[in-house]
Amino acid sequence: MNISDLRKKLDSKEISAQEIFDEYFKKAEEENKKINCFININKEYSKKRLSKENNSILSNIPGVIKDNISIKDTITTAGSRMLEKYKSPYTASVVLNLKDFMLIGKGNMDSFAFGSSTENSGFGVTKNPLDLTRVAGGSSGGVSAAIASKLALFGIGTDTGGSVRQPASFCGVVGLKPTYGLCSRFGLIAMGSSFDVPGIITQNVKDAAIVLNEIAGYDVNDSTSVNIGKKDYTGLKKINKCKVGILKFPEEGLDKEVLEGFSSSVNLLKSMGMDIVEIDMKYIKYSLSVYYVIVPSEISANMSRYDGIRFGYHPEESFSVLDDFYKESRDKFEDEVKRRIMIGTFTLSQGYYDAYYNKAMKVRNLIKQEFIDTFKDIDFLVSPTTPTLPFHIGEKTKSPLSMYLSDIFTVPANVVGYPAISIPDKKFGDLFSGLQIIAKPFEEERLLSFANMMEEKLWK
């Protein structure tokens, strides 16, 4: 079932909103027990909001929203016990753009989106529906698992370093990270503000295009959003000939399945008559280092508001010394949150600012320039989405660094703000490897067309 089919059934009254409601919530409640993909299931909320009209393309279409995206009157935890009881008094712009869709649940995630497996969630790990012993990826693991389990037709996640594409890849679904500035961040609980974007997770590329059509657009409430006018992303075209860059990367540490899947896709591209260019980029390998300096720096400031005074965990006892209060309230943060606050506090400190933050900003500019130069010659840059197939639960929790490396292919697009998509590449048993395609800024139209074509060639 895709969005267009369900839309037709709803419009022709073949199925009613109530029937969709009953079916999807029943399934969500059952499946959630197995995979823990929701922090909250919003049955009561949606019951009151069943739309009588079918005005918009997403009217009464089931969707899931990652739990770091604010929705008025719903609990919005960002995956952290810190915000266990926080009810947002306002709704994020991207959610407003979805109009009267049917909210199934708020997706589980790594606490404040810090992580690549949802193992950092304050509400338990999300299991991969393809193999319950494995992680669903992260940080948008809950949303991806829900889409893979067909608990909704679309999901909105957030992508700071791969948090939409990596879990989509792990769960065998489609994950789109739009250009930085195309979709509003207003109402997204910030992680790395200059990297964060709302992203889309769907079962296929066409659905991603439909959802992008709804959520893309300038928002006065987000000063970093860009006004490029309204575009239609759903008219997916056939792309006959274009230049595709194949990113050269060291194969060490990559799963053989991933390499196998990727090389068969490269061969497919060749057989399609695409112009293949091998791309060797000098600075891209510093993306992860840049990311792990700038993002924690931004995080260290973004996390300061969780002091337990207006919202967040407020200790019961009273304190005469403010620092004692903070010690108690901020101890509620999960370990990975504390780790990143400490890294960021360090990189911004007097005497270290130039060596870390400032240098990382300079390298970020070099990488941006390198992308601009590279994309003068190519239309798309392809690579695997992740270096490995989904790993086992617990496999990497002891080693944050190896966990960080799972974002090695996805992070560069966030460093430079380019749009990127992950589609299932090849199936290995129950699992999939993922193919990542990066395009030029604000060329989502072409990116989706290309991805749609690849999806057809690979899977039909």
């Binding site: 409430n221 000063s223 207006r310």
Partner: protein, 475 residues
């Protein structure tokens, strides 16, 4: 031993804008119920993002021009990180590395130039209300636009510091960039004070003391005076000199008239500034700057020059009238209809403002047309100055007061016989005083004139009365 005072001033001015700096909450929060003038942005709720109010840029540019700053086309907002309950995001959005205004100055009346490093934009915090066993927070003013004006430490006396602060106050108010109401916290001072002590060919500097949140010129002056004495005493006793990291923050207690130690600065000095990723760098085109500058109809210095050279007012009058834009506007409005400028200036300064200050009424109660009518009646010798003043006063205090009618009923008495008879009557009643006058005590004459005017109910010209009085006495 020679002791020199070194003072630098940081002045926070709340800019006059319709809405807060980064959201659309209104700026007229004063006296609203606590936490009713708020939204997700100024409350720092998760996910909320700042949206810069361009009006605050306009006001900053105006101040930039008025204080002779270089107005920078490129500036940026940074995050200043520190945790305190009244700072909801845990960081303050401010301008650190690239402020909008740099390198300004003003001149003191002595001619001494005081350089001003910078004037940068930043958001205000919430208000803490410390109760007996808890602290309450009111976010109504959280996110109000502030301009922080940072002087170089070139002020060398409390008088200079006060004059500098007053000048900034007058200028900022004159160009309508802020109301500068100190009781409402729209202008407040942080001072940095230390001493340079020369002793037996050696020079010492005492540790810099920062005193925050002074809210009157008087407390500014008193705090400096107190600190000057305290630091000298402390130096004589402990000989501690300025070093990196021994800056101290002290608080001013107005009731005790003392500064009180608050904290050492060394620990909290690292604000970990970095560019705010939520606000793209500011790039002002010349068109935007010019439009902002057009909102200043005249700078206070130009207004002063104009009053002296064009209107030929004495310097003191001109200075008085340019202290407040309202005075200046009043004068320039009326001067279009009444061209005896120095008379006008005197009337405004002594009479109009005198009446207003005394009665506590508002300057808007003055009807400019009626005022001119009164002045013309005096000039035409229809009424006496004294009658004019009385009519003016009544007209300000009572808006329904009929000026024309009262001018008519106060007309100078043109019938000579009435005045003559009155003078004769006064001379008769005060024959003893007349004797005294004739014996050389000329001072009594003005009393006699006063008696005549009183009898005439102001409807006589004092000069004529004097003339006639002398004539009759000498008869």
């Amino acid at each position: 031993m020679e002791v020199d005072l070194i003072v630098g001033l940081e002045i926070h001015v709340q800019l006059k804008t319709k809405t807060k700096m980064f959201c659309s909450c209104k700026s007229d929060y004063f006296e609203k119920n606590p936490n009713t003038n708020v939204c997700p942005v100024c409350l720092g709720l998760p996910g909320a993002l700042p949206r810069l109010n361009r009006e605050s840029l306009v006001q900053a540019i105006k101040v930039g021009r008025a204080l002779n700053f270089e107005i920078n086309e490129k500036s940026r907002f940074d995050r200043k990180n520190y945790m305190y309950p009244d700072l909801f995001k845990g960081y303050q959005i401010t301008q650190f590395e690239f402020p909008i205004n740099t390198n300004g100055y003003i001149n003191l009346s002595s001619g001494k130039r005081i350089n001003i490093y910078r004037a940068h934009l930043e958001e205000d915090t919430a208000k803490s209300l410390h109760e007996k066993d808890c602290t309450l927070l009111d976010a109504n003013k959280a996110g109000m636009p502030l301009l922080e004006i940072v002087s170089s430490p070139e002020l060398t006396s409390k008088e200079e510091a006060k004059e500098y602060a007053q000048k900034i106050y007058n200028i900022v108010k004159f160009i309508d960039a802020s109301d500068c109401d100190m009781e409402k916290g729209q202008m407040r001072f942080d001072i940095n004070v230390n001493l340079n002590i020369k002793e037996k060919e050696k020079e010492f500097r005492t540790p810099i003391v920062e005193i925050k949140n002074l809210n009157s010129f008087r407390s500014l002056e008193r705090a400096i005076e107190y600190e000057q004495e305290r630091q000298l005493e402390e130096f004589m006793e402990k000989r501690i000199v300025l070093e990196k990291g021994n800056k101290v923050t002290r608080g001013w207690n107005d009731t005790l008239g003392k500064t009180i130690f608050q904290r050492n600065k060394e620990e909290s000095d690292d604000y970990r500034y970095f560019p705010d990723p939520d606000i793209p760098p500011i790039s002002l085109d010349s068109d935007f700057i010019n439009k902002a500058l057009d909102k200043i109809d005249i700078l206070p210095q130009d207004a002063l020059d104009k009053l002296i050279s064009e209107y030929k007012l004495p310097k003191e009058s001109a200075e008085f009238l340019t202290e407040d834009k309202i005075f200046y506007n009043l004068f320039s409005d009326i001067s279009k209809k009444y061209t005896n400028y120095s008379t006008l200036a005197n009337w405004i300064i002594t009479d109009v403002l005198g009446i207003i200050n005394q009665s506590g009424s508002d300057i808007n109660c003055l009807n400019k047309g009626k005022f001119v009518e009164i002045l013309n009646a005096i000039d035409d010798k229809k009424i006496s100055v004294q009658s004019g003043k009385e009519i003016l006063k009544e007209s300000i205090l009572n808006k329904d007061f009929n000026v024309s009618e009262n001018i008519n009923s106060s007309l100078l008495v043109s019938d000579d016989s009435i005045l003559d008879n009155t003078i004769k009557k006064i001379i008769d009643e005060n024959s003893d005083l007349v004797e005294k006058y004739l014996s050389g005590k000329e001072g009594v004459l003005s009393f006699l004139i006063g008696q005549v005017l009183k009898e005439m109910k102001g409807r006589a010209d004092p000069n004529v009365v004097k003339e006639k009085l002398l004539l009759f006495i000498k008869k």
